[in-house]
Symmetry: C2
Subunit: 277 residues, 2 copies
Amino acid sequence: MHQPDPQKLSLNTATVRQQWTLDKIIEGCARHEIRGISPWRDQVAALGLSQTRQLIKQHQLTVTGYCRGGMFPGIDAAHRQRQWQDNQRAVDEALELDAACLVLVVGGLPAGSKDLAGARSQVRDGLSALLEYSRPRGMPLAIEPLHPMYAADRACVNTLAQANDLCDELGDDGLGLAVDLYHTWWDPNFQREITRAGLKRLLAFHICDWLNPTQDLLEDRGMMGDGVIDIRGFRQAVEALGYDGFHEVEIFSKSNWWTRDPDEVLRVCKARHQEHG
Amino acid sequence: MHQPDPQKLSLNTATVRQQWTLDKIIEGCARHEIRGISPWRDQVAALGLSQTRQLIKQHQLTVTGYCRGGMFPGIDAAHRQRQWQDNQRAVDEALELDAACLVLVVGGLPAGSKDLAGARSQVRDGLSALLEYSRPRGMPLAIEPLHPMYAADRACVNTLAQANDLCDELGDDGLGLAVDLYHTWWDPNFQREITRAGLKRLLAFHICDWLNPTQDLLEDRGMMGDGVIDIRGFRQAVEALGYDGFHEVEIFSKSNWWTRDPDEVLRVCKARHQEHG
């Protein structure tokens, strides 16, 4: 099948977060027949966890991921302890929302540090400790490798290979990958590493497009079809491994999609998912 | 030795290109006792090739690299033919200037293309053809892996591993790497890949810093010490392999260093090279 299953579209709520509160986003998904949703913690906190759970159930949406835990490296043990506790709360919230996984943005360099290898060690240690909490509770953790341009400030896990290495080391029970094409489309080892990951580790699949030129490091992601990523080819590559989960659209777009009528944004997401996804 | 040899500092002329023409830059290097220089083709064309050669000789500067050849992928054969001819001229100019190497920025996706693997094949083919010209003339080609954020528009060779793979495939006679820390500092395989490259392939070593946050994808590079790169650690890593070539400073900085008195920029380059290089 060339076109994607429209039932597999999921909306990462960041895509319309500037226009709508979470209740409006949930209702928007239902109205536009988008069956998956991936909410952010601050939006859930604003709406209330139980209210969020109730609205999502009411509209029978699938929570394809919960954004987000991680941010493991810290300048001292007290920071890391606070982060560990916060990550436990994130696991609890993800469980409450029946999320498919807790997405992990693992964190970059602690303030003032140039020790990238040290930060990566802290990620491994923090992840190992969090797994002791998440595994018995049955909440899968999805390591999301971020584009290398975020190595300093957001995530020092920058390739699928690094994420696979972590799964190898820590065991892939309750641990896997969130494969976001925005972060990984450039990777010459993409095919090798998703094959190495295999179906069991493919916990989430995120799509959007890389604009050429890109105006902003963080908030200039493109709608599917407006950039250079062969989204269909990548989607077929993960499906060839047996992946039949959702295709989650996550677009940070300060000067374009965040300024538009959110109903239009959802209509375009649906159409572009069919055309380019 | 902890501090770098000050005689090993080289100036990539892009660092002060907004303030000075090439003749002024050459004279500035001499005045500040910066012994290496790496000029760009457009600046050389503006000053004239023989005039550039003469001024550089007069001031006894070492040309640590010539910027730049490459841009191999093209939308059609005619484009690639023109590019091949232009790359031959770049080799000739590099020879005329006694450059240590011709630096190659290999090019990204052809206009309208989403075929990254195809672009990478075109790079291999274009490089193979150019080697037939450069090898008998004795001009080494230095593949510069660019940061993955430039995969679409500038270079689809984004890791040291890819560059090493090209050297393996095409033979490393007259072919090697330009290792620029701005592009490679995030790479978890940095140590493995420079070791794999070995002394023979280490044709150039470029330094500057990664600012956190970075405001612009292209023109917000940092002065050594202002960012998060452990420049000293990386320099010692290449020197541990026997590298004793220059440390070339290349800073594109639209809103900071390009707006300053260029004599101040060179003074700061020298001081920061000693302090952080």
